[in-house]
């Protein structure tokens, strides 16, 4: 189960499993985002390298305009993956 959409504050909410099967849908959604963006990952329970690639490519595109992604409500398991991948040095990350 994977979902991506906006919450009432205008943050992007990602939930479920961001794996290789779901990464194209996440990428298509995030391709429509411009400017700074907060990603609420409180309901994201799994991410693979395909999902990491989506976050990285979106962050690079937005950073070119001095914006970027901020990752919030990150659970400890996902945070471990971010740390292994060096994403903790590339993104603003706020743990749950």
């Amino acid at each position: 189960m994977f979902e991506i959409g906006f919450n009432e504050r205008g943050d992007v909410v990602v939930s479920g499993r961001l794996d290789a099967a779901n990464a194209p849908r996440a990428q298509a959604f995030l391709n429509e985002i411009n400017g700074s963006c907060i990603l609420d990952l409180s309901a994201l329970n799994y991410i693979s390298s395909a999902g990491l690639g989506v976050l990285l490519s979106t962050h690079k595109r937005l950073s070119a305009d001095r914006s970027g992604l901020e990752l919030v409500n990150v659970n400890p398991h996902i945070n471990d993956i971010f740390r292994y991948s060096g994403f903790d040095k590339l993104f603003v990350i706020r743990s749950a």
Partner: protein
């Protein structure tokens, strides 16, 4: 557990469901799930993506071992590719030098407690193990 899967990312949901069932039936500790799921997806996706000359289904085997699980993926009629020999990723590189991709097998080596590769008669078999640490096992008692 022994089951084959078509060469498609769409099979990932079924692999997750089958892994769930296996963990429940064998009473394997859930703390290993994230690591097993991640290593399994990355290896399966790698086979589907790069072993394009084969149309054979990929065999997944799982068996319980002491304090953990052993997982094997076998791909038939393919060239040799040893995923345990991969270039390191510079995780300290700045954003401008990072590119999407290349993290998959890097993460497999991070997730698996042990991993080994066999190649014979155009058949690739990769096996990894995840085991609860002594501390985790003690906490579980």
């Amino acid at each position: 557990m022994k089951k084959t899967y078509k060469r498609s990312f769409d099979q990932l949901a079924q692999i997750v469901a089958d892994t769930n069932r296996f963990f429940e039936e064998q009473d394997i500790d859930d703390s290993l799930r994230m690591k097993v799921d991640l290593a399994l997806e990355e290896l399966f996706v790698n086979m589907v993506t790069y072993n394009t000359e084969s149309d054979r289904e990929i065999l997944l085997e799982m068996r319980p071992i002491e304090r953990g699980v052993e997982v094997s993926l076998t791909d038939y009629d393919v060239e040799r590719f040893d995923p345990t020999v991969v270039r390191d990723i510079d995780t300290d590189a700045p954003l401008s030098e990072r590119t999407p991709g290349g993290l998959g097998l890097f993460l497999v080596l991070k997730m698996a407690d042990s991993i080994y590769y066999e190649y014979r008669d155009r058949t690739s078999k990769i096996t990894f193990r995840n085991i609860m640490s002594a501390g985790e096992a003690a906490d579980d008692v």
